[in-house]
Structures are given as C-alpha cells and as structure tokens.
C-alpha cells in the first residue's frame, strides 16, 4: 500500500472504525467486503504497532527568537 506510512495513528484508527462500520452495514458485494476486510486488517495491525512502538517526545519552550519558538529537550527530575 503506497503512502501508508504517512497515516497518523488518529487517521488509521478512524479509518479502521469506518471500515468496521461499513462491513457492519453489510450492503456490499463480496469483492468489496473482501477488499475492505484486507484494508481493515492492515489498519488494525498498523494501529497496534503504532501504539506499541510510540515513544514520547517531550520538549520545553524556552523562548522565542525572531518569531520562532526555541525548544529544548526536557526531562523531569526525579
């Protein structure tokens, strides 16, 4: 699937919900439902892997220079 890597988690999850909804409605040809099914499985796996692999990025807004924000990485002190 071309361009799939561009999907955000949000997009993938919402598309997955839409696929399930369409399949539930049942008003589809077998070919349509097979291709939706494949798409849905792909999206479900994509969502799962995105959730599993995510690592949070935390930065700190320390100032503004020339109208642009200055961000530094931030780590909370234990």
């Amino acid at each position: 699937m071309e361009g799939e890597t561009e999907l955000t988690f949000e997009q993938a999850f919402q598309q997955l919900e839409e696929v399930v909804r369409q399949l539930e409605s049942g008003d589809l040809t077998l070919e349509q439902s097979l291709s939706l099914f494949e798409r849905g499985m792909h999206l479900a796996r994509l969502c799962e892997s995105k959730l599993d692999q995510a690592e949070q990025k935390v930065s700190q807004l320390v100032g503004v220079e020339g109208g642009r924000p200055v961000l530094t990485s931030f780590e909370a002190q234990e």
């Binding site: 988690f9 949000e10 999850f13 399930v20 097979l34 499985m41 599993d52 935390v58 807004l61």
Partner: protein, 395 residues
Amino acid sequence: MRVYTVHQITQYIKEVFELDPLLQDLWVEGEVSNYVHSAAGHVYFTLKDAQSELRCVLWRSQVAQQEYLPGNGDAVVVHGRASVYEARGSYQFYVDHIQLAGAGALFLQLQALQEKLEREGLFATERKRPLPRFPRKVGVVTSPTGAAVRDILHILQRRYPLAEVVLSPTLVQGEEAPPQIAAAIQALNDHTDVDVMIVARGGGSLEELWAFNDERVARAIFASRVPVISGVGHETDYTIADLVADVRAPTPSAAAELAVPDRRELRSQAMQHHALLQQRMLDRLAEQKKDVQQVLALLRRFSPRALVDRWRQSLDERFQRLYTRQEHRLRLWHEQIRGMGLRLQALSPQATLDRGYAIVSSRDTGAVVTRTAQVGSGDGIDIHVSDGHVTAVVD
C-alpha cells in the same frame, strides 16, 4: 522664647499629619476592638496588634458604601488617612474602606472577580470546547520542577506516547506567577501547534494557589486558541482558572488523564475491531457459500443429467408396469391351458378303450373304420384295445 497655645500647637501637629503623603493614603492591618456603631450612624473602633492601638472612625457617609462591616476580633485591613482630632488632642484614623484581612480579604476579592468574569461570560458552558480525541501535541503550563510536571509527564507517557509534549515552564506561585502563567499559555498558542493544553499546579495552601485566581491568568485561558484543561491543587480546590478552563480536572494527574486517550484501551479496541473484522468476514463467506450451494442445487435440477435420470426412472416404472401386466396375462393363459388339458383328457380315445371299446383301423390306409362299406373281404385290419392292438383279416 515663644510660648504657644494648646490650640496653636494642636493645629500645627494636625498640619504635620496632613502634609505627610504617607499618612494621607495608607492601608493598615489589625484586629478590631471596642467596636461602636453610634446613634448618629458613625462607626468607631480600635485597631490593635500585639504592640499598639489605633483609634479609627468611619463616618456615616462612608458606612453606607462598605460591603463589609467588622465585628470585634475580626482581622481587617482598612484604608484611609491619619489626622488629629483637635478637641481631644488625639490622632485617629479616618477610614474610608474596610475589608477582611488575609483569607477573608482574598475571599472577598475572589468573589468580586468571579462575579465580574461571570458577567463577562468567561465561564459560560456554551463556550466550553470539546477536547480532541487523539491530540497530536499536548501543551503543559506548569513549573518545570516539582511533582506536578513529573506526574503529568509520567501519565502522558504511560497512556499515550504518540502525542508530543511541549512544556511551557512558568512560576506557579508568588507575585510573578500570574503574568508568567498568562505568558506561558499565550506562548504555546502563538508559537506551537499544540491542540490541547494542561494548566496545572500541585497541591498547596490557598495563598500558594492564588496565582490561579488571577484575572490575567483567567483571561489568558479564555483567549486560548486550543482547549484548556485545568488541574490546580487537590480535588477540593476550586480556582478561577478552573471555572474558565474548558475542562476542570481535580488534580494535575487527572488533567493528564483527561488530555489523552489510554493506549491500552485503544489497543484493545483495535483488537476488537480486528476480531470483529475476521468474524464478519467468516460470516460473510459462510453466507456466500450457502447462497452458492442453493444456486448449485437449483442448477442441478435443470441439468441434462437430471433429465436423463428422470427419463430413466420413468422408463423403469413403465417396464415395471409392463412386466406386471404381462405376468398377469401369462398366468391367465397358463390357467386356460391347464383347463383345456383336462378337457382334452376327458375326450381322449384311451379312456374309451379302457372302458372296453376297441378301435378298428384299416391296415392299408390307417383310417379308422366306422362303416362296413369301408372294408371288404380279405382286407387287413388293426384292432386297437386299451393296452395295444391285434391284427385280423375280414372274412
């Protein structure tokens, strides 16, 4: 040596008081005692602290303008000017405003601000914005040190590491805090693309949380482009910031939980969708297979093979019927034949011979002799009896 009258010196002292700018415009804090509301409508009392006392008067015209009048023992802050009461030669404090000190005063200020902002619509429920379901970037306005930021980051990391976090650090208590908090909120709005924001501070005393009751903070929250979740102090603390925020969370941790979805829930939802998809597909395929089988059965009924089978069966049936009928007929014939046999037997000459009759036949022709004219003298004849024949010659 110059000698002054009592009045002269009293006037002089009064002038000294009234020419001193500090004494003409000041706030004094103390505890109220000897409180008297006179028949004329004026109020007299003494303000005191551990070391000193100050006589105070509040003229009737000022009494009417006060939102609050103290009782003995109240800690109050009064505003006014100090001057001299010439008739008595004593100085006193002419009060024009009186309010509760400490928490009491703060409470009154808070109430006034709350009413004002309420009238302006800063707390209106119809203005509250929904939080994004899957925020991509979460802004956090709080102190970069302390438990609140740690708790918030910990929860955001645990629940939804997909979102980026931008901390906009600020002081959260003291005089400098309100403008800093307001600026931190504005900076996130102006210079980052956060789509939701947490404004938080850990638990503390009423005074420590006071910055979140500041009008500047309230207006910055109100002006925020993105929804704001407040999480100030503990569950029982309510600040103006909480009232303006789109969503109020009882604590900083709770604010973080409201800001993002929980990945474990999302994961289980995704898995449910996954399972549902598979089930749907299996159902769909089973359904389709059933349809196909129905059509196949229908097709089979119209196939040539079925026709042949049907003809064959019908032929079989006919054969069977034919056969049955033929058998019946054969049986009938058989019985007729047997009957005729019996009749034939009854007609057989042997039976006649057995009874003692004889049959004569010509030896030459073999013909049975039934008349005398058939034979002449000297002709050979055969005489048949029951067990054979004898030969004779006619005389």
